[in-house]
Symmetry: C2
Subunit: 319 residues, 2 copies
Amino acid sequence: MDVGALVDRARTGEPRAVARLISLVEDASPALREVMATLAPLTGSARVIGLTGSPGVGKSTTTSAVVGALRRRSLRVGVLAVDPSSPFSGGALLGDRVRMQEHALDPEVYIRSMASRGHLGGLSWSTPQALRVLDAAGCDVVLVETVGVGQSEVEVAGLADTTVVLLAPGMGDGVQAAKAGILEVGDVFVVNKADREGASAAVRDLRQMLSLAEGSDVGWTPPVVTTVASRGEGLDELMAALDEHWAWLAGPGLHRRRTARAAAEIEAIALAALRSRLGDLRGAGPGGLADLAADVVAGRTDPWAAADVLVDAVTTAAR
Amino acid sequence: MDVGALVDRARTGEPRAVARLISLVEDASPALREVMATLAPLTGSARVIGLTGSPGVGKSTTTSAVVGALRRRSLRVGVLAVDPSSPFSGGALLGDRVRMQEHALDPEVYIRSMASRGHLGGLSWSTPQALRVLDAAGCDVVLVETVGVGQSEVEVAGLADTTVVLLAPGMGDGVQAAKAGILEVGDVFVVNKADREGASAAVRDLRQMLSLAEGSDVGWTPPVVTTVASRGEGLDELMAALDEHWAWLAGPGLHRRRTARAAAEIEAIALAALRSRLGDLRGAGPGGLADLAADVVAGRTDPWAAADVLVDAVTTAAR
């Protein structure tokens, strides 16, 4: 496979080349490393916006509305719709994605549904790689939409330059927000379905919780925007809030976020590599894990001393 | 600290020495390795029974009843009550533990509540270490009781020689059981609160699901016992089922389980050690993670190549 040619085709805006590259990184194909090395100098220009919230708050509708607003600015847009609970992955429009169909035929919009393959719940480590592909393919903005389940909100915040947390009235979201720690990760909050009963109470509760929360970003107070995404209401205000955060980020703030993101990614890959080396030692000959385990059961050694032997074996194998 | 003397006191049945040893391993104190090395030759004689189930099925009541039955056989019993959702840990009787108060003053029963400190949810890696302490302290049987949340059922099964899965009628447990994969891990199933409506339906559903499930243990068909633990009903049948499984395990089956358990434990400790070495490199000078992350952001390298550098640094640091 000619990775360089594939990347060139992706950069000219060929959707199939983009899809192929994402599949290569998602499947951890042997070409993954070559792909990532080829993409490296081409990345860093995309603005990454994460959108997260509980099921039913209107994430897909909001994402679709934001895509529309960005397209009116003639920007190339990528959408990664990550569903940590779905075993499906691929280019097809899945379930909720039907709400994004209005953009499905737009050649300047890439929409990709990704299953989470992370063993630990939440976002898969292939999400940042797919993001890199869309970045290198010339997307001006990449939207990462993810269902707020467990830790995935926090993880999407780790990926994004700006994280949008969506809530809807009457879903007990106030409590959920406080529990899941999303108050800390949101740069912009949206109370969607603002035409519903309880919207102003939800906004008030949220504002109060935000005023109590310890903001990690000095100088940025997360705004609360109300929208009815299905009718486009509040979209201008949301776009203004996104732009304001982007402007605020510019410079050292953005670099700091992105460096932290890269560090987490590198660490995750390194840990996976070390874990895989441990796995290679499973049951391997004398001094392998099976022998060590038998020694522990027999009381000839303890798990900590045995782990030392294993760590030594891993590091020796690396030589 | 004289670890040897502390272990000697624990073996003579001094509860405070046992509690102190568990605290040492739980807190990952500097003495942890010495404690584990001292305990190693003293372990392996305790029979480990895991009890798991959703909140409200009657785990503590059942555990207490089983403790009573074991005490009538004059056996020394340890109880580790692991609550993955609790931040509390220690020797005190917490919440539910009140149901075990009848044994609290029995010098031949050690009861210990443990919080889960596992970062990945579920059982903490300190649970197997605490189990080792109780084993070395001369407990004939150790009961590990854990709330069935997420993966904790599967993890308790990894610790136990015999895993008891508890259900109660009318809690939608049938579906839960199928989802959480507990059908695969249960050696003995208990439908508790069998005087409630729906008990026979629950037993029937469970039997049917078990007949469809692929049992991993050839030659063992998990029995379904009905109990009303609060009144001691069905306790004899439960004890008989436990003894039958223990007899079935004897020999190679038991050794195989325990070896697999030790292997998982060693691997977890080794992985934690490697992870901690990675952590030590965070932000460390030239070639450290901070530098690598900045290179990735600048497009000078990609996360995979950077991870290679990090892994090399970890393994070099080990020399």
